[in-house]
Amino acid sequence: MFATGLPQIGEAYFTAASMMIGITSGIQIFCWLATMWTGRLRLTTATHFVFGFIFIFVAGGLTGLMLASIPLDLQSHDTYFVVAHLHYVLIGGALFPLFGGFHFWFPKFTGRMIDERLGKISFWLLFVGFNTTFFPMHLLGLHGMTRRIYTYSPELGWGNANLTATIGAFTIAIGGIVFIANVLRSRRSGPIAGADPWDAATLEWAAASPPRPYNFALLPTVTSGAPMWTPPEDRGVVTGMRPDRREVLVTTLTEAQPTQRMVLPGPTPWPFLAAFGFTIGLYGSVFAFSWHYIAAALGMIGLIGWFWPRRPLEIEP
């Protein structure tokens, strides 16, 4: 961004805007840390991945702040310093939480526990492999190794660090294989999980593992942010919803008091016609403007067909 030759006012703006990301990300990190601080931690595989995520993401955020300052960025733009930064934030911020969530909810969506020992082995392989791969890239970038070049002459002396990164990348691959093997094995022969193997707080753990397509036969009522930890005498269910049509409860926004029992439309092919019309219309409009009219006509017919009143017109309570 800063190396594109923006006017100075633009650069100042983008520096400020980038630094602001640091503030919001920082607040998030402190919230997560506070949540863990006030809880009782169990060092499961999922927790390992959460710690890995915070460690890696914070490191990536710190290099992001460095990149947000114009003088530093003008030197390090288009080098492996940026490649290191983006992998720390993308893999740390997206992939590690994904792995953590996968291990946490695996019992919910398969009905079986995932093996913790193999899980931790895969975590350490991924974590060590990740840092072995991407940490040297910071140094390579600061030494001037540019991005998007497939090879460099040996005299530049970047061979060792790149070899280290390659070793790290293979370690990541092994970690990935261990993870996949663990998933396949646990899915087949892991111990049966039951509805709530973690003694967790939130409502999905009240449903069976794996959940029925309708989730709950009777909607549970919720009186706190940790519904599974409220005393059983405070828990309740909603009655009086009709099971023979698609009813949903409409509630007030803050208090969640039910106000309406809304009936949603049943299955119908009409929206498909609308979607089909828009799809071919938009592809066609690449070639000729007149396809816009075809899209509009088919879309409109689909919407009117969907809207057209069906009997009975009065909704029975």
Partner: protein, 204 residues
């Protein structure tokens, strides 16, 4: 988990013809999306204005202000029709809905015919230059929205006239007015930009 408390919702209403209907909020958010697109178009208009000395470019006529200004009268009045229709929908008054929807539709058609007459006076197309592209983009998008809403209004007139409607369709009448208010209101800044913009920031 042994539930001891039950919350019985049997007595709750199935619908409410007001801003409590989820559909009403859906329409409002649709207006927010469409309003963002129009805002982006206005920003584009002034941003691209900065890159040339004379606006509109030479040999392009200034847009006439007479007809579009006159057209504001039926447009603003048509919002009154929407209001009558949505109040009638709440009271389930068939005559009220027909009068409201009908006058909304009729006045909007007057507005649209003014617009089509005006278009024939333009001496540029959407491919002429950047000014032409912007004017036509804004006019096309707004006209497209208006036409789509009028077709929906026509459908509502038909189902109310033949008596094939229940509470769900009356919610439709009610939220139809939300879209129409939006299309009338958003036209006011667009009108100022398109017709008075070149006179105020035209340069030359």
């Amino acid at each position: 988990m042994t539930p001891v408390r039950t919350l019985d919702v049997t007595g709750l209403p199935m619908y409410e013809i007001s801003s409590r209907a989820p559909l009403w909020w859906g329409q409002l958010l649709l207006c927010v999306i469409e309003g963002s697109v129009f805002s982006i178009l206005i920003a584009m208009y002034f941003y691209l204005r900065l890159s040339v000395d004379v606006w509109p470019p030479t040999r392009v006529q200034l847009l006439h202000t007479g007809l579009p200004t006159l057209a504001l009268i039926p447009l603003l009045l048509s919002a009154g029709g929407s209001y009558i229709a949505s109040e009638a929908a709440k009271k389930n008054s068939r005559v009220g809905m027909l009068v409201g929807l009908g006058s909304n539709l009729g006045l909007a058609l007057v507005f649209l015919s003014f617009r089509f007459v005006e278009w024939r006076t333009f001496n540029f197309t959407w491919a002429s230059d950047i000014h032409g592209t912007l004017v036509w983009s804004i006019l096309f998008l707004h006209t497209f929205d208006v036409a789509a809403d009028l077709i929906m209004t026509l459908v509502l007139v038909v189902i109310v006239a033949i008596g094939r409607y229940g509470p769900k369709q009356r919610i439709g009448v009610h939220v139809d007015s939300v879209v129409w208010y939006f299309l009338v209101l958003i036209w006011l800044p667009l009108y100022v930009v398109l017709y008075w913009g070149p006179r105020l920031v035209g340069g030359a």
